[in-house]
Amino acid sequence: MSIRATVEIQPFRQQYVGILGADGFSLPVVTETEVVDVDLHFSDSALVALKQSIDGDEKSHVLVISAQSGGCSGFLYDMKIVEDPGNEGFQRLQVDGINVLVHNKDSSLLSGITVDYKDTLMGGGFQINNPNADRSCGCGQSFG
């Protein structure tokens, strides 16, 4: 069984300023990122594993799924259970009582992913299947 969780926001193009201060000698580097409605799927086994991981902290903690540069194929998945950072810059989804956050800058890369969990000694743990990826590496942690 898959649970589909969606939040409604208006798609828009937003500028992200990757610079905090310039000391008056440089211009900030700006990159445009497309922001879309995030749509995530979790398998039954992923939900069970997620509940075990966050056990008892559902109100104060959230799962953040993000993408970072790197890995064999260009981007790396990252999943963290952290104290709720608030809504600024994030899209928040309720998945079986657990708050799942995806940052707007990662929304176009991660929307549509299915989070699965494999209980095996080698290569086990959370796995992500991403329909947006043109390629992924052997370990499954990187996509491009």
Partner: protein, 316 residues
């Protein structure tokens, strides 16, 4: 015996290039990364291991695509928590985009565009000349993996082919002052054509020689780390190292007449793809990607009969 041969070759090369001290203002792209996570973010993106890049350190890093092919070569300089990235101008917007969009939501990393703020000068000097003394750094032994800062001007030094190559970074507002100092110490300002001739003569491959090739083919194999973990192109580099057999290498070609860039058929060697070529009026120097051959030097000729000498410039 071979030590004397190497020393002779270096003297020969520098003598042949008629080099004393020459400098060029480069059109490099300069970016500045700030924040405690900058090095971690950058390390994920390059094929070179950056964990040894210390404060006031410098190293060259390769950006490769997912197929392991070189996209850009960047010199990095670390000053406190800032990393200066000196890269090719045509690739800088991609690098900057990758850094800004690739930093995690909880990572402390931001980026400045330094193109209109920082100038880049390359100074090439014969081995026995010490240009740093003219900049207030008397008897200063600058190691190849270090930078030194004096009056807001940064210097790094690398020994290439018997000459010392200095990279000088400075605020643009100071460029007239530094150019005047270089002039007064006897260094000659040169243009792109002379710089290309010098660079090829010294055997320094640049991005036009490397882009689209595997690092080892371009003599840049030392910039690939096979034990740092994943980065774009890592699977290909690991496969080449463990199972592949290198079929190409970078070579320098010396001839008496100009040779155009592109593919040339060379007797006894095969197809050589010339990536850099410069004629100074009497000698043409080129760099190109050639099939592997065993000897360090080959005398051959092009399909039009022009005699050439092919030299390996870097054991990859």
């Amino acid at each position: 015996m071979w030590v004397w041969a190497v020393i002779w070759l270096r003297w020969y090369l520098v003598d042949y290039l008629n080099l004393r001290c020459e400098h060029i203002v480069r059109s490099s792209s300069i970016s500045v990364m700030k924040g405690v996570d900058s090095q971690i973010v950058l390390d994920r993106m390059v094929s070179t291991k950056l964990s040894n890049l210390d404060n006031m350190g410098t190293q060259i890093a390769l950006f490769c695509d997912a197929n392991g092919r070189v996209e850009d070569i960047a010199r990095l300089m670390k000053i406190d928590e800032q990393i200066l990235i000196i890269s090719s101008p045509e690739f800088s917007s991609k690098i900057r985009g990758m850094i800004v969009s690739g930093a995690g939501w909880d990572e402390d990393c931001s980026l400045l565009n330094g193109d209109d703020a920082i100038a880049h000068i390359t100074l090439v000097c014969k081995d026995e000349i010490d240009p740093l003394s003219h900049f207030g750094l008397v008897n200063f032994d600058l190691l190849p993996d270090k930078v030194v800062e004096n009056e807001d001007v940064l210097f790094s030094k690398e020994k290439i082919g018997g000459a010392n190559v200095f990279e000088i970074l400075l605020p643009i507002v100071k460029i007239d002052k530094i150019m005047s100092k270089l002039n007064s110490m006897g260094s000659e300002k040169i243009g792109e054509e002379r710089w290309e001739f010098l660079r090829i003569g010294l055997g320094q491959s640049d991005i036009q020689d490397a882009r689209g090739n595997l690092p080892n083919e371009s003599g840049l194999g030392e910039l690939v780390s096979l034990d740092k973990g994943c980065y774009p192109g890592q699977e290909i580099h690991a496969r080449v190292d463990s199972r592949g057999r290198l079929t190409k290498q970078i070579v320098r070609i010396v001839s008496n007449s100009p040779i155009e860039l592109g593919a040339h058929y060379v007797e006894d060697v095969g197809k050589i793809n010339l990536t850099s070529s410069q004629y100074d009026g009497s000698v043409n120097l080129s760099l190109g990607i050639s099939p592997i051959f065993e000897s360090s030097k080959i005398h051959s000729k092009l399909s039009n009969g022009a005699p050439i000498k092919i030299e390996k410039i870097n054991d990859s």
